[in-house]
């Protein structure tokens, strides 16, 4: 199953992710959902667009999932949205299932941090004042000049 999707990560998509990791010997599932926020660095955000170097992003997402499953006795599912998103939509979902909650929480937390650190995805924000900017987590202002 590809990790990148142009379709909404809605209740149906989440149910699919949960079903992918659920098993009789896994008693805990931790879930992280990243949603589109209505503000960034003091500016009002109206909507945003994600783009990716898709072939590489798929490879890196698969590596992150495999690495997490090697570090913890957990099963992990990961989905990241691309294209235009509205405020409140789910941008990213991480689901980690394990026999007990410690491994589930740890794997889930690690995966979202690695996604932010390694996956070639970019975010363009559209602001209420009519301006547009590329989000740059390495810049002091949070966006590219």
């Amino acid at each position: 199953m590809p990790h990148l999707t142009d379709a909404p990560i809605d209740a149906t998509a989440l149910a699919t992710l949960l079903a992918a990791v659920a098993a009789p010997d896994r008693g805990g599932i931790a879930t992280f959902l990243g949603l589109v926020r209505d503000h960034h660095a003091g500016r009002v955000v109206l909507r945003l667009e994600y783009s990716a170097y898709a072939p590489m992003a798929e490879v890196v997402c698969a590596e992150i999932v495999a690495e997490a499953e090697g570090r913890w006795p957990a099963a992990v599912a990961l989905a990241h949205r691309l294209g235009p998103l509205a405020i409140g939509e789910t941008a990213v979902a991480v689901v980690a299932a394990a026999a007990h909650r410690e491994a589930a929480f740890a794997a889930c937390r690690w995966v979202i941090e690695e996604v932010k650190r390694r996956v070639p995805i970019w975010k363009r924000e559209f602001y209420a004042d009519g301006t547009v900017a590329w989000v740059d987590p390495t810049a002091a202002a949070g966006v590219s000049p």
Binding site: Y50, Y53, M56, V115, V119, P120, I121, R124, P137, S144
Partner: protein
């Protein structure tokens, strides 16, 4: 008589997000010579060639980059036909 033949490669360059806007394109095939005195073409030579193009002067000297889908250092030696992607600061999640 010995003449040294400068190493020149053609690579596929991919640009994304802000870098694509700076250069005005998302992909181009670029003939890249090795740096003066060097026998082999590296990813740094691709960056230097892009920085010499109109709009490219605003590219950072040491951007993140990937060669054939893997993040690699600037010093990576390239082969003919490699896909070199310049990656602006990542902003997924």
């Amino acid at each position: 008589m010995t003449t040294s033949i400068p190493a020149v490669l053609t690579v596929r360059v991919l640009l994304f997000a802000r870098y694509a806007e700076l250069l005005g394109c998302e992909r181009l095939d670029l003939r890249v010579p090795a740096a003066r005195g060097a026998g082999r073409v590296t990813a740094a030579d691709v960056v230097a060639a892009l920085r010499a193009r109109p709009g490219g002067e605003r590219l950072p000297a040491r951007p993140l980059l990937a060669v054939n889908l893997r993040q690699q250092p600037l010093e990576t030696v390239l082969a003919e036909g490699d896909e070199v992607a310049l990656l602006p600061p990542l902003a997924g999640g």
